[in-house]
C-alpha cells in the first residue's frame, strides 16, 4: 500500500496505518470567541508504533487525542482508526470508585460480553502484568496514585483495543514513580505490540518513551516538527542519548513557544 507521509515522502507499507489523520481541524466556540485549536493536522501512525505528541499547554494535543478517541468531532478533515474504538487513559485514573480494582478491570470485558470465567482469567492476567495481583479486592481510594494509574492501564488493556491513547497519564506522579511506570509501560508495550499515542508536555518523557515524537505548535495547533528516536530499548531516562534528544526537543519547543508569542509560528 502506498501512503503519502506527512513530510511529503511516499513509502510502501504492508500493513495499513493504525491511525490516519488528514487535514484535521477543530474549532472551539462560536462567532467572535472562536478558537482554532487544531489546524490541518496530517499524521500517520504505524501499527505497533509508540508515538509521542509533545507540546506546550494549550497546544491542542489533548484535543487531537480526544478526536482520535472519538470523544470529540472534528470541524473538518479525515480520521481513520484501525481496529475499532481505541482505549484511553487520562491524567486522572478515572477508575470507578464504587468498584474494586478487579471489577474495574473487568468492566470493559463485561461491556464486550465476555463470559464470567473468561473475565476472571483475563483480569488475573492483567493484574499480574501491572503487578497489582495482591490488590484485586481493594477499592481505588485505597491505592496510591501510581497504583491507580497501573490499575487504569490494566483496565485500558482489558479493552483489547489495537490503539492505546494516553493523555499525560503520569503527569501527576513524582519523578521516581514516573520513572518506574515508564519502565513498565515500555515492557507492556513491547509485550502486547500495541500502538501507543502518548500526549505529554515533558521532552524527557517523550525522549524516554517514543519511537517518534511529533512536536505541536500552539494556537493554532499544527505539526511543527518530527523527531525519530533511534535509541535501543529498554531505555533509561538518564541515558546520554535520551538526555541529548530531550535537550534538542526542549530547544525546539522553546523556539516554537517564542515564535508563537511573536505571532510568527
Amino acid at each position: 500500500m502506498s501512503v503519502l507521509r506527512s513530510d511529503g515522502t511516499q513509502s510502501v507499507e504492508l500493513a495499513p496505518p493504525a491511525v490516519l489523520v488528514r487535514g484535521l481541524s477543530r474549532r472551539h466556540g462560536r462567532g467572535e470567541q472562536q478558537v482554532l485549536a487544531l489546524d490541518g493536522i496530517d499524521l500517520e501512525i504505524a501499527q505497533g508504533e509508540f508515538l509521542c505528541l509533545l507540546g506546550a499547554s494549550g497546544c491542542g494535543k489533548s484535543t487531537l487525542l480526544h478526536l482520535i478517541a472519538g470523544l470529540d468531532k472534528p470541524t473538518s478533515g479525515e480520521l481513520r482508526v484501525e481496529g475499532g474504538q481505541p482505549a484511553v487513559m487520562f491524567q486522572d485514573s478515572a477508575l470507578f470508585p464504587w468498584l474494586t480494582v478487579a471489577e474495574n478491570v473487568a468492566f470493559p470485558l463485561e461491556m464486550r460480553g465476555a463470559s464470567p470465567a473468561r473475565r476472571r482469567e483475563r483480569v488475573a492476567e492483567l493484574l499480574e502484568l501491572v503487578h497489582l495481583d495482591a490488590f484485586a479486592a481493594h477499592r481505588p481510594h485505597q491505592l496510591s496514585g501510581g497504583m491507580r494509574q497501573r490499575a487504569a492501564l490494566a483496565r485500558a488493556l482489558a479493552q483489547d483495543a489495537r490503539v492505546l491513547l494516553m493523555d499525560e497519564p503520569f503527569a501527576a506522579l513524582d519523578a521516581m514513580l514516573r520513572d518506574l511506570l515508564h519502565d513498565e509501560l515500555e515492557r507492556i508495550w513491547q509485550r502486547t505490540g500495541l500502538t501507543v499515542v502518548f500526549v505529554t508536555h515533558n521532552p524527557r518523557e517523550a525522549a524516554r518513551l517514543a519511537d517518534r515524537v511529533i512536536v505541536l505548535s500552539s494556537r493554532p495547533g499544527r505539526v511543527a516538527d518530527e523527531f525519530t528516536v533511534d535509541v535501543a530499548r529498554p531505555r533509561r531516562i538518564d541515558a546520554p542519548d535520551v538526555s541529548r534528544l530531550a535537550g534538542r526537543l526542549t530547544d525546539r519547543l522553546k523556539e516554537i513557544i517564542r515564535g508563537d508569542t511573536d505571532g510568527a509560528a
Binding site: 478517541a69 486522572d92 478515572a94 470507578f96 470508585p97 464504587w98 464486550r112
Partner: protein, 288 residues
C-alpha cells in the same frame, strides 16, 4: 429542637470510624466518647429547660406537665405495647408510601436526567411541588378518596416523590464528566451507560434525596394521620389526636416524643448508615 436532632448524627458518623481506625486507640476512645457525650448533654439541657419552664408556673401542670410525668407515661405506653402497635400501623403506612414515592420519584428523576426536554417541562413544576406544603393536598385527597388509607398515601407520596426526583437529577448533574467519558470509551452506551456508570456514580446524592424524601413523607404522614383517623387503626397520629381531644397533656407529649424518636431513628439507622457506608466505601467519609 432542630439542633438537638442534628447532634446524634455526628456521633453516628464518628463512632464507626473510631473502631475501624484503631491505630491510635486512646484518641479513638476520646473521640467516640465525645460523640456520645455531646448529644446526651444536649438532651439533658433540653429536659432541664423544659422543667424550668414548668416550675416558672407559666402554664398550669395539667396543660404543660414536666418531663418526669411525661417520661413515666411514655414508659407505661411502651410497656403496655401501645407504642409498638401504633408504630406498626404508622410505619407500615410510611414504608408503603416511601416505596411508592421512591418508584415514582426515581422514574421521574431518570426521565428528567436522560431527556432535557422532559427536564425543561417538569423541573419548574417539581420544584414547586417540593416547596408546596403537602398538607394543602388533603382537602383534594379527601374529596378524591374520602377518609381512608388512600388519602394518607396520596399525600405521603406527593410529599416525598419530588424530593427523590430532584435529588436524583442533581446527583446525576454532579457526576464527573471524566467517568462518563471513560465509560463511553469502554463501550457503555445509552441505558447501559446510565445503569452501570452514571447511576452508581450518582448513588450518594440519590441516597441524600431519599433521606430528604423520608423527612417530607414522615411529616406528611403525621399530618395525614391527624386529619384522617380510622377507628379500627389506632396509629401514632390518631393517638396524638385523641390525647388532644381528651386534654391528656401527658399522653400528647409522650406520643410527640415517639414521633420525634422514630424520625431520628429512621434517619440515622437507615439513611444515615446507608450514606455513611456508601461514602466510606468510596473513600469519601470526611475526617474530623
Amino acid at each position: 429542637m432542630a439542633t438537638l436532632m442534628a447532634q446524634p448524627k455526628s456521633s453516628e458518623s464518628v463512632a464507626p470510624r473510631a473502631f475501624a481506625g484503631s491505630r491510635e486507640p486512646t484518641q479513638s476512645v476520646s473521640r467516640s466518647r465525645r460523640g456520645v457525650v455531646a448529644p446526651v448533654l444536649a438532651v439533658v439541657v433540653a429536659l432541664a429547660l423544659w422543667q424550668l419552664i414548668v416550675w416558672s408556673g407559666w402554664k398550669p401542670e395539667w396543660v404543660l406537665p414536666g418531663p418526669l410525668p411525661v417520661l413515666r407515661r411514655l414508659v407505661e405506653e411502651l410497656v403496655s405495647g401501645e407504642v409498638a402497635s401504633a408504630a406498626r400501623i404508622t410505619l407500615a403506612r410510611a414504608a408503603l408510601g416511601m416505596t411508592i414515592a421512591t418508584l415514582i420519584g426515581t422514574s421521574l428523576g431518570v426521565c428528567m436526567a436522560k431527556s432535557s426536554w422532559v427536564r425543561n417541562a417538569l423541573s419548574g413544576l417539581i420544584a414547586g411541588l417540593q416547596t408546596m406544603p403537602s398538607v394543602s393536598w388533603f382537602p383534594l385527597a379527601i374529596l378524591l378518596f374520602q377518609l381512608g388509607e388512600e388519602s394518607i398515601q396520596f399525600v405521603v407520596v406527593l410529599g416525598a416523590a419530588p424530593s427523590i426526583a430532584v435529588g436524583l437529577v442533581s446527583a446525576v448533574d454532579h457526576v464527573p464528566p471524566l467517568l462518563v467519558r471513560v465509560g463511553r470509551t469502554m463501550g457503555a452506551r445509552g441505558f447501559v451507560l446510565f445503569r452501570r456508570v452514571i447511576f452508581p456514580a450518582a448513588l450518594p446524592g440519590y441516597v441524600a434525596g431519599l433521606k430528604q424524601g423520608w423527612a417530607f413523607s414522615w411529616r406528611s404522614l403525621m399530618a395525614g394521620e391527624l386529619m384522617v383517623f380510622l377507628a379500627d387503626r389506632p396509629s401514632i397520629g390518631a393517638r396524638l389526636h385523641f390525647a388532644r381531644e381528651l386534654s391528656d397533656a401527658e399522653g400528647l407529649l409522650a406520643w410527640m416524643i415517639v414521633v420525634l424518636s422514630i424520625g431520628i431513628l429512621v434517619d440515622l439507622a437507615v439513611f444515615g448508615r446507608l450514606e455513611h457506608t456508601l461514602r466510606a466505601r468510596r473513600g469519601l467519609a470526611e475526617e474530623h
